[in-house]
Symmetry: D2
Subunit: 457 residues, 4 copies
């Protein structure tokens, strides 16, 4: 069967984004796509099989196929693309936007992000080391992370509080001589299930009585094998264990780390997480756009399946299916532009300067992803919720995106409030226009007569 070939990744870059993408990035995009399509996606099933079945197997596994892929990626120059050239010298020299477009492609495979050393939470952690770390910290942790030799976790969320508001974080850090003593509990420590996870970047309260709640928290480096650290269990996401990565619940019982492990200085935790979370949210968002595209491909394939003919018509001949595919295309394309714009805004200033754009992307993209997945699941019927398609796992993962890195509600609240703060300026503008209007009416000898005035009755 002959058919029009699909446009390549570089050809699909939205017209509006093109001037922001270098020739080198355009070429790299097509190399990434080829790598993902021809190496990573086929390897996903091998990865799943190499994981094992029992919980203890699954969380001590290191599927060999991942190292094969990493070697290939390095050879192709596809390693550490996430570190943006404007802010770091250690990466592959792309902008946040350029990497974002690549991340979309990585988001179509379960193995591609790790294969290219662009997997969360290592990416954000490497940014922390590169941006805020001392030389010693960089040598000890950043170098092996950049080389893909170890993995890392970021320990922020806690089980007993409302972590959506990070000022609530309770893990206690106490100074004792040159050491900090840590006590408390963390959960949803993603990546801590991986046997290669060697270091935890950990947030806690070092100065609980500081009148400024944004100066009470610090971020400190804790090697995973420090005495007093216990990984109790993994959290499941819908029924999935996300092995070997995992989402761990971890307790700290008199965990002692030297002061030299402190990042940036005590009380500067908020500064660090704000810098860290911005680009990370973009990465997640662009992988999610890729996930949505993958779902839409599966949707399109399903409606073209000759074996699926309810009521004598192929699914593509049912108008409701056509409309849902259209809605999916609209939501995906809008989501992509929103993320691209946010990435450019970070490139041009930084995460703080792109606060509004990042919040919008953070809220909008998972909603689009989940909508597309939900429609695709429905088109697949029962197969859509089972192990026979990747859809249910994608849905489970996508659903967490509305919660992690700040739930929708927090981003909505901040976004809404920032809009509301324009109030006085907006009101002044409206008042000025009204005054000018009154003047004009007078100048034209017109009263402001209401169309439904009763005076003449």
């Amino acid at each position: 069967m002959s058919f029009k070939p699909l446009p390549t990744a570089s050809q699909r870059v939205p017209a509006i984004a093109r001037p922001h993408v270098s020739e080198r990035a355009m070429k790299t995009l097509d190399i990434v796509e080829k790598f993902v399509d021809e190496e990573c996606i086929p390897a996903d099933a091998v990865f799943a099989q190499q994981l094992g079945t029992t919980i203890s197997e699954r969380f001590s596994a290191h599927p060999a196929i991942i190292e094969d892929l990493k070697a290939k990626a390095k050879k192709l120059g596809l390693f550490n693309m996430f570190l943006p050239r404007n802010h770091f010298k250690e990466g592959a020299g792309f902008s946040n936007l350029e990497y974002g477009l690549m991340a979309e492609l990585l988001g179509k495979s379960a193995t591609a992000s790790e294969a290219t050393n662009c997997a969360a939470p290592d990416t954000g952690n490497m940014e922390v080391f590169a941006k805020y770390g001392t030389e010693a910290q960089k040598r000890k942790w950043l170098d092996p992370l950049l080389n893909g030799d170890i993995r890392s976790a970021f320990l922020m969320t806690e089980p007993d509080i409302a972590s959506s508001d990070a000022t609530n974080i309770q893990l206690r850090m106490k100074k004792e001589g040159n050491d900090w003593i840590l006590n408390g509990s963390k959960w949803w420590s993603s990546g801590a299930g991986d046997p290669r996870c060697s270091v935890y970047i950990t947030m806690g309260k070092s100065d609980p009585t500081n009148p400024d709640p944004y100066k009470q928290q610090s971020v400190i480096i804790v090697p995973a094998d420090t005495p007093g650290v216990t990984v109790h269990r993994m959290l499941s996401v819908f029924g999935f264990d996300d092995a070997p990565h995992g989402h761990a619940q971890i307790s700290f019982n008199n965990v002692r780390v030297p002061d030299s492990n402190m990042v940036l200085g005590p009380g500067r935790g908020f500064e660090i997480i704000q810098g860290r979370l911005g680009p990370g949210r973009i990465h997640h968002a662009m992988r999610s756009v890729g996930g949505a595209e993958k779902a839409l491909e599966l949707f399109v394939a399903r409606v073209n399946d000759n074996n699926k003919k309810p009521f004598g018509k192929m699914l593509k001949e049912h108008g409701t299916m056509v409309e849902r595919i259209a809605k999916s295309r609209i939501e995906i394309d809008a989501a992509r532009l929103i993320v691209c714009d946010a990435a450019i805004k970070i490139d041009e200033s930084d995460a703080k300067g792109a606060k509004k754009e990042i919040a919008i992307a953070k809220i909008m993209v998972p909603e689009a992803l989940l909508n597309v997945l939900d429609r695709t699941i429905q088109a697949y019927g029962a197969a859509g919720v089972s192990q026979d398609t990747p859809l249910a796992k994608m849905y489970a993962n996508g659903r967490t995106m509305r919660i992690v890195d700040g739930p929708d509600e927090v981003h909505m609240m901040q976004l809404g409030k920032s809009e509301i703060r324009k109030g006085p300026a907006v009101m002044a503008k409206l008042a000025k226009a009204k005054a000018k209007s009154a003047e004009l009416l007078k100048a034209h000898g017109l009263a402001k007569r209401d169309p439904l005035a009763m005076s003449k009755l």
Copy 2:
């Protein structure tokens, strides 16, 4: 009260769109904004008062304030910005994107589009003359239109058929010697209510038996005062009459026009409307984005109103209001990017090349606008549906956007089908990945074991 000034129009251009906007356009944007804010919006009330109250007054009125504004606009160089420099030499030399950003600003005032000679349907009609007209047609109709001396209408929709599918159009055009004789009915002929409306660009069926339904239709120029033309009534939109513009129902009874009035040639009607509707949809869409911004400003003003304190708290302290403002900001920003991308796509190719992008903008923008308006109306309570705010009229107008120039359903269907046509290529890609995966599993000595296989039971 002191407060941070609002960013100007040029400062608000989305980061992703900036490289596409020339320095001249950036400066013009701020001039347009000043003109709209300081001249047009205050003039809107004068325009409304000058219209009169009875139907016959309202549809014979030409509010004098419009001519004042036009003179000012001409002086500022703000005339005919809609004609894109890539495709026409007659306009102000901006791209579709650049004009789009201006159209957003024009969309905040009832008078601004006409004041700058950028009002529909004249814009689309001028494009038709400029693109497809003979020199004689241009001199007779394009010149006075470009100068704002006359107005025009585009007669396509008919009352007795499903006009959402233009092949259904029935107005009969019969050749008699060197003339065409027209018989039939049109409605929703927008702009035909204006006493200055001098010309109707009219679509009809000149070749009803042509086997290709896309070659049966022609477009011909009909002067408004041609004998046999009767304007019967105006259509209302919700309760509004949209005077003096209006939406007319018109009958053609043996209306005779010379063959020299035919545009492009008999049977080429579809070609013309396809070229015409693309940019027009972008104009509508960008004005709608402006309308949504205006609504959001009114929303922000309302929640900051000290007199409105239900249950002891200002509206801005009610979390549900904050969330709705955030949702509105998200929808508006996404809609703007979608339209900008479509405009750039037209700039880089043409309306046909931007088919997908235009369809997305056409569907998405009115939905965003109506959502924002609905939330704002709710925040204003009963005032929101009354003559005391512009919201109800904006809603009525916005609601028609889901119908005119092709209803949502038609654009959805075309968009969905174009996605579905990728089916064979997508299926081939998926099959290739599956085959490669099977190969890899075999190479690694792995069977594809189902996680819930019962074989060992």
Copy 3:
């Protein structure tokens, strides 16, 4: 063409509601339906024509057809069905549920409610007189109202405050000897446009310093022709004036009424409006269900229209239309049951006892109505927003239902809070189950092992 006749009103009573409907009411339902279908709906156009065109005509008109219909209704025994037999002796002897089912039918015509003397706001006002009025008040106002000789308005909402919270109401009532002096402004005084509107039941603040904000307000009777009362203008709803009924803005300038006009006693305003608004909300809701049924009929007619064949298929062959019709049926049927249940709850206790059910009906029904109307409008295309269908006016009217008698937000807040107050009891229940579960596990010698526990790693 032969076809299955449509089921009659009595046949359509939902199975679940039947035991609550007397034989007499079942018969009356079919009489009401016949009256509405054969007399009122055809009279609607006459009513519209008899109204006139200028504002002054429209708000001094009393279309003669209304009196014809009233005479017919009286003859058929279809008068004052709204006054529930459990609470009043003056009505036609039906329950709130039974009248509710009739109100659904009345909701399909613009004239039927007034024709049967069941039109708001007279209904609620008659309830106030019947329930709280003195004998003198009843004779003076209730008798002519019950006979359809005069009309009335209820003046509560004010322009300068957040009326969604009635404690904000500011109209000042001051005692001077045996009189009350009223000063202030009202708007959205529905029905006050009708030249026959003779009496305003008016809410105001008689005791502004009372520490209990729910005891500051009183309700007093103000004859429409009292000196100091000025009707300034009507408010429009989307573009509609709702003549002759109208929504008035009225000012009170030292309006003097005798103390004998006070209803129930000073400070008892809240008691009165709570009793008044409950059944009124049910009436509105059931008329809205009728409106939604009418819209769905129009939708069904449209998709069966042979002249409307976009893309070669009748609208009923387009799957998206079929789905929208199904969704409309679902929303309507659910809305009806919700209102019926609330009506029964009022019948069995009173408006206070049915607070939850009324709130649910108040929120849910307009949403259903607007959804059905929006879909129907879309099926009608441009005709749907014009004067050629009743849809746009129905939409405008339905849209106000989300605002009047308390906006959605207030009902949501109250409903949510009442649910939240169950918190302690729910938490105790959950804790008890958890404790019992722990006991059981222990009794069975089982530890609560987490499925993803890491202890064995």
Copy 4:
């Protein structure tokens, strides 16, 4: 802490449903609630622990706690309540409505349905035996099923076709002498994972060339241990295996069963599934209503949790949470009424007579359930998707409700079409009203003047 006790199950029966519920059922409702709350819900955790961890353990387990609960239920008279007294003599003597109200309570526990022998798919299968079975079939299968000694499955859905349209079912049944030989594949055979599942009621094609596609299918009884039957694997639902119940993929390879196993007769498969699915859909729906109530309880508990204070306020003080709780209450109460009405309709006629009502319940309830769950998950944050709350599993299960027993789309289509079939009658009614209206206008000497007529211009 003292607080108002929660109303009991009988007190919560909606006012509108009360006359349909016998005194005995009212009493039983409270007994069921007590049993579910005090026995079943605490036992759910024991059940989970007794299941084991490996796949082979989980699908050969029979948790002992279930037998304890069954013994208790029998003692309380809570066994087989699902068999409606109007149609069967074998059950506990309740109506579909009465059982529906009980099923809501059962839906709050993972063990309650099986404990009371009211678990799907046994319920539907018992109905098939009771309604259509021969005496021999009843003795052999119905008796042990009614006694809770064995379990059963219903094999309809197939992997390779669009099972949403049951005419597509392919499993081949060939007559050979007195036997039928079965060949084909089934999946989503729910319950077939349970080691006690002894019998499969199996649908297949016995007469593939019958011109009436609704007569090609038969239903036959297949003992689970018949040679040629192979259970290959279980399907997962999101990540859950639903052990020990399970959803099996099963192949039939020359499976031979005697003709005496045929139910009702060859070619009568559609008759059987139509009778079977009606009440089953009501059971699912009412359990889902119970699930939604459970979720809302968890939501209410969460917002009352003193430890969860984002931004200094308890969740119940955040307006957005209050609104979502209100929306959940609305959706649940509406869903319950819809199902109750459908159950009564079945009681009064049968599943066929309640087709419309069942379809509405089938579509509406899962949507309500998923909405409530989604909001509750969001309130719980990451805990909501994990094993620490039942929410994710409930969501996964609820999501399948939109697919099993006919996907939403099929029910929508049938519901929409049945509404559309009223077209001719509706059009005749509208035409009649229009004619009467024209007559009336004429009689009153009025022309139908359009409000926006231009004739006088």
